[in-house]
């Protein structure tokens, strides 16, 4: 199970959301309020702590995976 995907689905209330290419610029729902909710949920789920700079600078799922040391999700095909 992709824990990051589950968090995005919960925050955006969109089951089966495809997150791999998601960025703050291509997702209108990823506004400043949703961003903070994502950061809070991710910190709790991954038992990690973002710096203030990271919270401000994270703009995509790809960046999140890098910071969290998560590899890309394997292609299920």
């Amino acid at each position: 199970m992709d824990r990051l995907k589950t968090i995005f689905e919960d925050v955006f209330e969109r089951p089966d959301l495809e997150i791999e290419n998601l960025t703050r610029s291509n997702c209108p729902e990823w506004d400043s309020l949703a961003h903070v909710k994502l950061m809070i949920a991710i910190e709790e789920e991954f038992n990690s702590k973002f710096t203030i700079e990271q919270v401000s600078n994270i703009k995509s799922v790809e960046e999140l995976r890098t910071i969290l040391n998560l590899g890309p999700v394997a292609d299920p095909r």
Partner: protein
């Protein structure tokens, strides 16, 4: 180490409604509130707001409504509306934001001028319990 406190004073409670003018009539007629402002449009906050207060009360009630379907408040309203945030007045807004960050709050919006407060700056923060707070600097 002593952590500085942000020096908060309660200013208002924000309630998210569909239509500010319509909702205000109910609060005035049924709960005894008095209008303390007209309906104000704040394009930066993508919102219509109106302030009410009970006679003799020092804490306002702020009715807030999205200014259109693209408003950042529209999603919250679809989730049901109701009590949305608590606003505190502070003497020095940058210092208060910094203090709240130290207290594990996340900044949603850095200080920015707000039409509803005649250009006084506001900031938005949230804690891990999803308590949404607004700061407004003292005039």
């Amino acid at each position: 180490m002593t952590q500085s406190t942000p020096g908060l004073r309660s200013h208002h409670i924000g309630v998210l409604v569909k239509d500010v003018a319509l909702a205000s009539k109910d609060y005035i007629a049924k709960l005894g509130y008095e209008a303390r402002s007209g309906v104000i449009h704040d394009p930066i906050q993508t919102a219509y707001v109106m302030f009410l207060a009970l006679p003799g009360d020092t804490v306002f009630l702020e009715l807030v409504a999205p200014d259109g379907p693209e408003s950042r408040l529209s999603r919250a309203l679809k989730a049901g509306g109701g009590i949305n945030h608590i606003c505190y007045e502070v003497d020095e807004i940058e210092g208060a934001v910094h203090s709240l960050r130290d207290a594990d709050f996340f900044t949603i919006q850095e200080p920015v001028a707000a039409v509803a407060f005649s250009g006084r700056r506001i900031a938005w923060l949230m804690n891990r319990d999803h308590l949404l707070i607004e700061l407004v600097e003292k005039c």
